[in-house]
């Protein structure tokens, strides 16, 4: 482990002028156990006013638990919290909010059935004698939404009808509505496209200029480079480094987080495994009203086709339609020369099409069931004779697959809900691996997955392709698409606007193509390719 440097020059310069050396928050020796798990085991975190303090750590390192302690949602077993030098006890979320700590949680913490305005002011509604002053809340919401650059989100709109990005904005607005001194953001960009990320960073800059401190959690290192002041790294519930400058080399950070060497964050393309003679998947003229139109492409055995596009471009819908989960208005899907019955997942699965959907918790996993049951869910007929399950074989195969994926711990009896995000994602892939599928459709496979686990997923996807599987990959991270895919489709507003070999494309070219003419493009700062390592 490397030495911990508490005082950092770079960060000190950025501390706002009024409160020079005064610490806003000091958490020391925080410990927290859940039944069977020691989630925090002596974490220290020190935040100064006006800084963007980044928290880094692998999936399950304890980042979210730490900020829940800070938000008063969990009570720590031990440790001390000081706020502006005073020891405080955060006995409930209200206590933290009163102090001036507002939190954007990792799991979207909104109420789907009620309006944007009500979500933003939930728990601190403007009211007179218990009567909600809706007009006041509406006006304030409209103002917040303008400030966030999204005046089109109406205060009366039901939150459940907004996209993930829209909901993230509502979360953000809620944090702003509290007039907080410290805002905690737990993976706020996981569901955002790059222009939305720019927008978020603009607001972060405004806030820090006003002396508000931000605690920022993300698995995307390039973001930390752009806005971070200082970095604290957590591993297995302990602080392993704090006060690092934001430009600490990637290798060093990854080393601290995982305790092992990971060469690169994004993959570099090796030689291709495409077998141009075997066409596995053919999509022709696929259309769904209001979602996408006339989409056509082919994928050969061993080929990885990446689909790039903005959030809302219809990529998920295309994958779901191919998998039979949505019925196309027009068009056909052919696998190994056989046309699939439209709108039938069962037919697609039998033909060897597997979909790893975008929302793994709500669309893919049975959190209350053991890992083995999740992994074999799509292949039950193969593990049964006349409906009677061969549980021993099921267990054996599941275990073998889990070990092959290096899913930790590879205990098939453990409930899926108790695994970290990266491992849950592997479980989804394992389902199709066990099934022995011909076509694998991956929708945002690395969302919320830490760098170490990511590298493993990339290796896994490559291996699958090498074994002759046709892979379609949807990702909002362009370097990921470019690094993995043999060919890239760019989608804009439901239309394929480009279909080119990945070698012919650069990140800037893809982003240009993606953005061009899009309604939302206020500031088209593309990610600087240099920054993306």
């Amino acid at each position: 482990m490397r030495a911990i440097s508490l005082v950092n020059q770079a960060a000190a310069c950025e501390v706002s002028h009024q409160e020079e050396a005064d610490l806003l928050l000091a958490m020391t020796g925080i410990g927290k156990s859940f039944p069977g798990v020691r989630a925090l085991d002596g974490v220290d975190l020190v935040v100064e006013p006006g800084e963007v303090h980044c928290l880094l750590g692998q999936n399950g390192a304890g980042k979210s638990t730490l900020i829940k302690v800070l938000a008063g949602a969990h009570q720590p077993d031990e440790g001390e919290i000081r706020w502006q030098g005073e020891p405080v006890r955060l006995s409930s979320p209200v206590a933290a909010l009163r102090l001036g700590v507002a939190t954007m949680y990792q799991e979207l913490d909104l109420v789907p059935g009620v309006s944007v305005a009500e979500n933003i002011f939930l728990g601190h509604e403007p009211a007179r004698f218990g009567f909600a002053r809706k007009a006041a809340a509406r006006t304030a919401t409209a103002a917040l939404m303008r400030r966030l650059g999204h005046p089109e989100i109406h205060p009366d709109r039901e939150v459940g009808t907004l996209s993930a990005a829209g909901q993230q904005l509502v979360s953000m607005a809620r944090a702003l509505a509290h007039d907080a001194r410290l805002i905690v953001m737990d993976e706020p960009t996981a569901a955002l496209a790059s222009d939305e990320v720019d927008n978020l960073f603009r607001i972060v800059a405004e806030l820090t200029a006003d002396g508000v401190a931000i605690v920022y959690i993300s698995h995307r290192l390039e973001e930390i480079r752009r806005i971070g002041s200082r970095v604290t790294v957590i591993k297995d519930g302990r602080t392993v480094a704090t006060g690092l400058p934001a430009d600490t080399p990637t290798a060093e950070l990854v080393d601290l987080m995982s305790g092992r060497k990971v060469e690169t964050v994004f993959p570099h393309r090796d030689e291709t495994t495409v077998d141009p003679t075997t066409e596995v998947l053919r999509v022709e003229g696929l259309s769904r009203r209001g979602e996408f139109a006339d989409v056509g492409f082919t994928v050969h055995a061993g080929e990885i086709v990446g689909i790039a596009g903005l959030v809302g471009a219809g990529r998920s819908e295309i994958l779901e339609t191919i998998a039979g989960a949505r019925r196309p208005d027009k068009g056909t899907v052919t696998v190994d020369g056989k046309r699939l019955r439209p709108g039938s997942v069962g037919a697609a699965v039998r033909a060897g099409v597997g979909l790893a959907p975008e929302e793994r918790k709500s669309q893919a996993l049975l959190l209350d069931l053991p890992l083995a049951h999740n992994v074999t869910l799509a292949s039950l007929p193969a593990y049964s004779t006349a409906g009677y399950l061969d549980r021993a074989r099921e267990h054996r195969d599941a275990k073998a697959t889990l070990e092959r994926l290096e899913l930790r711990p590879a205990d098939p009896r453990r409930l899926v809900g108790t695994f970290s995000g990266g491992n849950q994602q592997k479980a989804v892939v394992a389902r199709w691996l066990v099934h022995g599928c011909r076509v694998l459709l991956l929708d945002e496979p690395t969302r919320g997955v830490d760098v170490g686990a990511r590298a493993e997923l990339y290796r896994l996807i490559r291996e699958l392709a090498a074994s002759g599987v046709a892979v379609v990959l949807v990702s909002s991270e362009v370097p990921e698409v470019l690094g993995l895919a043999d060919r890239v489709l760019v989608l804009r507003e439901g239309h394929v606007v480009a279909d080119r070999p990945a070698d012919d494309l650069t990140e800037a070219a893809v982003l240009d193509c993606v953005m061009e003419g899009h309604v939302m493009t206020g500031s088209a700062h593309a990610l600087d390719p240099e920054e993306a390592i």
Binding site: G113, V114, G123, A132, K134, S163, S316
Partner: protein, 336 residues
């Protein structure tokens, strides 16, 4: 419970600028529901033109709807908050019995009213505390109350029907005000207060939040446990009010009162468009739901239908109403 619908993929472009009002889809559902009610009234009128839509019959129907209507108001709160209350009928029985013992009657009408309200509130709070602080699932906690409250009512009354001899009580509650029966005023008042509470106060809005996502509500600083306890308290209070209405109507209190109220109330609430999983619902829908069942009953009785035919028809009409309501709301939604 209908997991397939709820887990349907929801994503959305940031692009659409038109703000979808949160209520519009609900409004369409309500319109469909209202259509069903009007249809039933038409059937009633056609089959019994001389007596169905008379003032007297409407007043009768509304008075019949009063007790179950009030109970359904409380049930709506409970279901929106994500719970269920099986004990409403038993609480009505207990409150009606307790308010009509000789001892209570001796103190006069005001004490009788207070007694019914207090018993209802207390039972509701016991439910609420068991559920929120005792962490017993609502179904089980209120099932326990369902058994216990009726048992206690039987115990107190000795299973006798207790006739109200306190004429001050009956005179008032069986009387009129401005030509409209007091019971109907009470129903209207409870609905109005309930509506304001649900839609215009922080308490009501928080009820939606607790039912929609309890964890989010907790993280936003709402005391979810206290809130849950209070919601069941409200349901209990409504049962107390309903007990007063039942006493007034039957001029007696009995441990057999309120039989099957739980099923009737839940059915009215759910037909009215409130989601059983919580977080969404309207009181107007509940009111229409209650009226649908009342009108149905009146049509059956006035046309001298056998109970067996009534039962068969009831089932068919429930299904038809739900399907009809869905088709209308879908067709209209497609148009917009």
């Amino acid at each position: 419970m209908a997991a397939p619908e709820q887990t349907a993929v929801r994503a959305e472009t940031p692009a659409p600028l038109a703000p979808t009002k949160s209520a519009s889809r609900l409004d369409l559902r309500l319109a469909g529901l209202l259509g069903v009610l009007v249809l039933l009234c038409v059937v009633g009128y056609v089959t019994r033109p001389e007596s169905f839509l008379t003032e007297a019959n409407i007043s009768t129907m509304l008075r019949l709807a009063a007790a179950i209507g009030v109970v359904s108001v409380g049930m709506t709160f409970v279901i929106i908050s994500g719970g269920i209350d099986l004990s409403v009928g038993s609480i009505v029985a207990l409150a009606s019995v307790w308010a009509t013992t000789l001892a209570t009657q001796a103190y006069g009408p005001v004490v009788m009213v207070l007694c019914a309200l207090l018993v209802g509130l207390a039972c509701g709070m016991v439910n609420g505390v068991l559920i929120s602080y005792g962490k017993i699932v609502p179904f089980i906690a209120t099932l326990a109350m369902y058994a216990s409250a009726r048992g206690l009512a039987e115990r107190i009354s000795g299973r006798r029907t207790q006739v109200v001899s306190e004429t001050g009580f009956t005179d008032f509650f069986r009387g009129d005000f401005l030509g409209v029966p007091i019971l109907i005023w009470m129903l209207a008042l409870v609905f109005a207060v309930g509506w304001v509470l649900l839609n215009r106060t922080t308490f009501g809005r928080r009820t939606f939040a607790v039912g929609g996502n309890a964890e989010a509500a907790r993280l936003a600083g709402i005391d979810v446990k206290r809130h849950t306890a209070l919601v069941y308290g409200i349901a209990g209070l409504c049962c107390g009010i309903a007990a007063i209405m039942v006493i007034a109507r039957t001029t007696s209190g009995a441990s057999t009162n309120g039989l099957f109220y739980e099923l009737d109330a839940i059915a009215a609430v759910v037909i009215g468009g409130t989601l059983l999983s919580g977080g969404r619902g309207t009181l107007i829908g509940t009111l229409i739901g209650v009226l649908i069942f009342t009108v149905l009953n009146s049509i059956f009785t006035q046309n001298n239908l056998d109970t067996d035919i009534q039962n068969i028809a009831k089932g068919v009409i429930i299904v038809a109403a739900v399907l009809l309501q869905r088709t209308t709301s879908r067709r209209n939604a497609d148009k917009t």
